[in-house]
């Protein structure tokens, strides 16, 4: 009888006759999962999980398993191209890397000369482990403008945690939290940032209690001991209500509060402005449920909050994050085993140092777009996208002439997609690096073929806060594709930045690793390196904040001229804030729930992933559908004051009848028109990007909740 062993590499090699295997580190999302890549005849033959990986312990997701389908896709761009017709004409011509990079360098230097380096904006989408090189090239050029998702994705957690307690507190699943509060998140599907669904599942299997905060029914919500089904966008009020219970019932950690927090009294006064009857009215959550959840969270030790991006894409972005940290803090769970730990990353060159932020001249820093308005974001080199579109379209406060977008598809992913499209049509020169000719790339002048994670060497996860770095090892070469890091290293030389870059990018990896006295060659033989593991570090050194305390009252926000205490703001477009509009648009739309297989706009051309979701679907309560004459499976129109899109109706009892839940990030690669149907089902046609609706400190666009109306497509209009 054979002896079975998980991920049995030797046996796989024998049975399937693979030529070799490479241990690497997947990056079909933000990274994280250790993988074993089997190779046969020079091609990737199979991908499996690496049980030695401390992050996911050998488990995987749909995307990671389909990586080879991405790498070898027939539509993949495998050489540089330049556009030879009008924008979005789909007319391209193959060019060499030299011609591509020389053209881009010449444009950058010309715009720098004529309009200042700030007229050249670099950008990336969500974090793909290319952040550090992109900031480096921009800062060394003297451009303060790097366009990212940082204003409303993860960036806010970094900014608000640094000003509150020094770094991003990460759930310590290794030490098994006894209570997990999952807030605006479903880690089992999204596996975001530092977190993977595997350790969360294990914690539940070992008996953790679960509280889920979500307007929509998820499987974790079904399994939860308490599900708080809040009105979309009212997270801050709910958190204030829970804090109110914890404080007034004396359930907080008195020693922590007394010795290690700043601003307790004014904070308590602010929390007392949110009694439970008021909170119930705002959030739709019954006060008894709020009380029950607050008690369970505060009295079960250790406890942790599994948080996510949904709370950040709102007007209350910064305060939502701070309030959740306050819940972690005053219950004594910060830096506690099984709570939320302020991890130490291995002592390598960090992303900030590599990004060369110190090299950006002060007078250039002062020109950061929107910097005077969104001062917290600007402090961390993050800009609000609308400020870039305005600078292109209206040349205010100065003209932006060039975009270089890397792994970014803003036509689909940024608020007010029509305005984004106009800006990209208008901008004088645009370079894009991507896997495919996306709707965004179709507007570019030059498109560069980007490498997938299978085609690069890198120090994986070195921007994250879970305390590990893991080697990503190159397995294959596809066409002329190059990693973002390699192409920017090459471009930097052509821009005259050579003295700050390297002959080849392996030397940059050596540079990242040099403080721990190892080279890339050493590191790539290792599974991972972990930083020092230590708990309750603040008891010895305090927190890394101006007061050395955990700041409930933010001295940093106060200095910037913001309210130093957290507050609840009503979403800019809700039944409460816009009652007249609500009569015409009588449903609250939510969007952004993650779908297995897709990563935002990615993977819709990969057959076995697209098979999981053929069409864009919008979830509607059957009562609501009946009222609007909608049948299950109908294509329906979803309309907001900004525009309309089509998705297919899926009935569910999991949404309140007052709410509809639409999918995000849809485009149709199978549509060979150069627009690829970018406007058909793209939820950002409906979202608003006015600066007034953004979080005042972070500039987070409010894309998660607004008003809409719905009707069958076969009817001409709503009325």
């Amino acid at each position: 009888m054979p002896e079975f062993r998980y991920s049995n590499i030797e046996r796989e090699m024998e049975v399937y006759g693979y030529d070799s295997f490479v241990k690497s580190h997947c990056r079909m999302c933000h990274g994280g999962c250790g993988v074993i890549v089997y190779v046969k005849g020079g091609k990737v033959a199979k991908i499996a999980g690496d049980p030695d990986c401390p992050i996911a312990h050998g488990t995987l997701c749909t995307k990671g398993l389909a990586s080879a389908q991405l790498a070898y896709h027939k539509d993949r761009l495998t050489y540089p191209v330049k556009r030879i017709g009008p924008k979005a004409s789909g007319k391209w011509e193959r060019i060499s890397w030299d011609e591509a990079l020389d053209t881009i360098a010449e444009r950058i230097l010309t715009y720098k000369e004529n309009h200042g380096p700030e007229s050249v904006v670099f950008g990336y989408g969500t974090g793909r482990e290319n952040e550090a090189v992109i900031y480096r090239i921009a800062n060394l050029l003297g451009s303060p403008n790097v366009l990212t998702a940082g204003h409303f994705c993860y960036g806010p957690r970094i900014c608000t945690s640094i000003i509150t307690c020094g770094t991003n507190p990460i759930v310590d699943y290794e030490n098994l939290p006894r209570c997990i509060m999952m807030w605006g998140n479903n880690v089992t599907i999204s596996n975001p940032d530092e977190y993977k669904g595997e350790p969360f599942s294990v914690a539940l299997d070992r008996g953790a209690r679960l509280i889920v905060v979500d307007p929509r029914l998820t499987r974790p919500a079904v399994r939860a001991n308490i599900w708080l089904r809040l009105r979309p966008g009212t997270d801050a009020a709910l958190a204030l209500g829970m804090l109110n219970v914890i404080i007034n019932e004396g359930l907080y950690d008195k020693e922590f509060v007394q010795k290690y927090t700043h601003g307790w009294e004014p904070f308590v006064n602010r929390v007392n402005e949110y009694p439970l009857d008021k909170v119930e009215q705002i959030t739709w959550v019954p006060r008894e449920k709020i009380r029950e959840a607050a008690r369970l969270f505060a009295t079960t030790k250790p406890a942790a909050i599994q948080w996510g991006v949904a709370i950040e894409q709102q007007i209350n972005c910064a305060d939502n994050n701070r309030l959740l940290m306050f819940l972690m803090g005053i219950t004594g769970n910060i830096d506690a085993p099984g709570g939320q730990v302020l991890n130490r990353t291995p002592n390598v060159v960090n992303v900030g140092q590599f990004g060369a932020h110190g090299m950006l001249p002060k007078d250039q820093l002062a020109k950061r777009l929107g910097g005077e308005r969104f001062r917290l974001a600007s402090r961390f080199a993050i800009i609000q996208p609308k400020c870039v579109w305005d600078a292109i379209l209206e040349e205010k406060p100065y003209p932006v002439k060039m975009l270089f977008l890397i792994s970014s598809n803003p036509v689909i992913t940024r608020a007010n997609a029509k305005e984004v499209y106009r800006a990209l049509e208008e901008v004088e020169f645009m370079a894009v690096a991507d896997f495919f000719l996306t709707p965004t790339a179709e507007l570019a002048d030059i498109v560069l073929p980007a490498a997938t994670w299978l085609e690069m060497d890198y120090v994986g996860d070195f921007w994250k806060r879970h305390g590990y770095i893991l080697p990503r090892r190159k397995v294959i070469q596809v066409g002329e594709c190059r990693s973002d890091h390699e192409m920017l290293n090459d471009l930097a030389h052509r821009l005259g930045q050579g003295q700050y870059w390297w002959e080849n990018f392996e030397q940059a990896l050596d540079y990242i690793l040099h403080p721990i006295n190892i080279t890339w060659n050493d590191f790539k033989k290792m599974d991972y390196i972990r930083g020092e593991v230590k708990y309750y570090k603040y008891k010895e050194t305090g927190f890394s904040t101006p007061t050395r305390k955990f700041e409930l009252y933010s001295t940093v926000l106060e200095k910037m001229g913001y309210d130093p205490l957290p507050q609840y703001r009503e979403p800019p477009e809700s039944p409460v804030s816009a009652p007249e509009l609500y009569k015409k648009y009588p449903y609250i739309l939510i969007t952004g729930a993650r779908m297995p297989g897709f990563f935002h706009t990615e993977n819709r051309q990969i057959g076995r992933l697209r098979e999981l979701h053929k069409d864009p679907m919008v979830e509607i309560h059957p009562e609501t559908a009946a009222k609007e004459g909608i049948k299950e499976g109908d294509w329906i129109i979803i309309e907001s004051p900004r525009g309309k899109v089509r998705q297919r109706a899926k009935f569910t009892l999991g949404c309140d009848p007052r709410i509809v839940a639409a999918q995000h990030a849809w485009w149709f690669p199978e549509n060979k028109d150069p627009g690829h149907g970018w406007e058909k089902s793209n939820i950002n046609i409906l979202t608003d990007n006015s600066l007034e609706g953004c979080d005042p400190a972070m500039g987070a666009s409010n894309i998660r909740t607004f008003l809409c109306r719905i009707y069958p497509e076969k009817r001409a209009s709503y009325e």
Binding site: P2, E3, V222, G597, G654
Partner: protein, 167 residues
């Protein structure tokens, strides 16, 4: 009694569908989607149960029954229950009569229009015979809810897990 079986504890499944794609990788490494699934994950609900909303992810896959009705009904003897319990459908022998599809109480047999033949999970018997776990059960599941092996042992493990969960 089956020596080997595949058990999926649906209570613990999150619906991430990784097992579906792992299955595709094993059987169809470079093809695009073709709609044929030996294993499929689908949401059962939401519905109201005892005043609360409930829904659970279901995984439809061959259960390798003790007394498989598909074996009895196949006129070509294309489906065989092996001594170790694995029920193997040989698509090459299948003539496409679909009797097994109608007979399966779990809707676990699919039809491959291209090959004009029935198809189902054969529990990766080609892997099992070589001492390898079936593709879906090889530790890929982030919920750790896919079990392969001795049915009695699996039942014990699931019981222990239920106890540890305390719910």
């Amino acid at each position: 009694m089956n020596k080997y079986t595949l058990v999926i504890e649906e209570f613990a499944c999150w619906g991430c569908k990784t097992c579906e794609v792992a299955c595709k990788q094993e059987y169809n490494p470079f093809d695009a989607a073709n709609g044929i699934k030996y294993l499929s994950v689908w949401p059962d609900g939401p519905r109201v149960m005892n005043g609360n909303l409930d829904f659970v992810w279901r995984v439809t896959v061959c259960k390798h029954c003790e007394n498989p009705p598909c074996v009895k009904v196949c006129p070509e003897e294309a489906i065989v229950k092996r001594e170790d319990g694995i029920v193997v459908l040989d698509s090459e022998k299948c003539t496409g009569c679909r009797l097994c599809i109608d007979e399966c109480p779990y809707q676990a047999i699919t039809f491959n229009d291209g090959k004009k033949a029935a198809a189902k999970c054969n529990l990766c018997h080609h892997r099992v015979d070589q001492g390898l776990y079936p593709a879906c059960a090889d530790n890929i599941c982030l919920a750790h809810c896919i079990y392969f092996g001795d049915p009695v042992e699996i039942e014990k493990q699931i019981l222990e897990k239920k106890k540890a969960r305390g719910c």
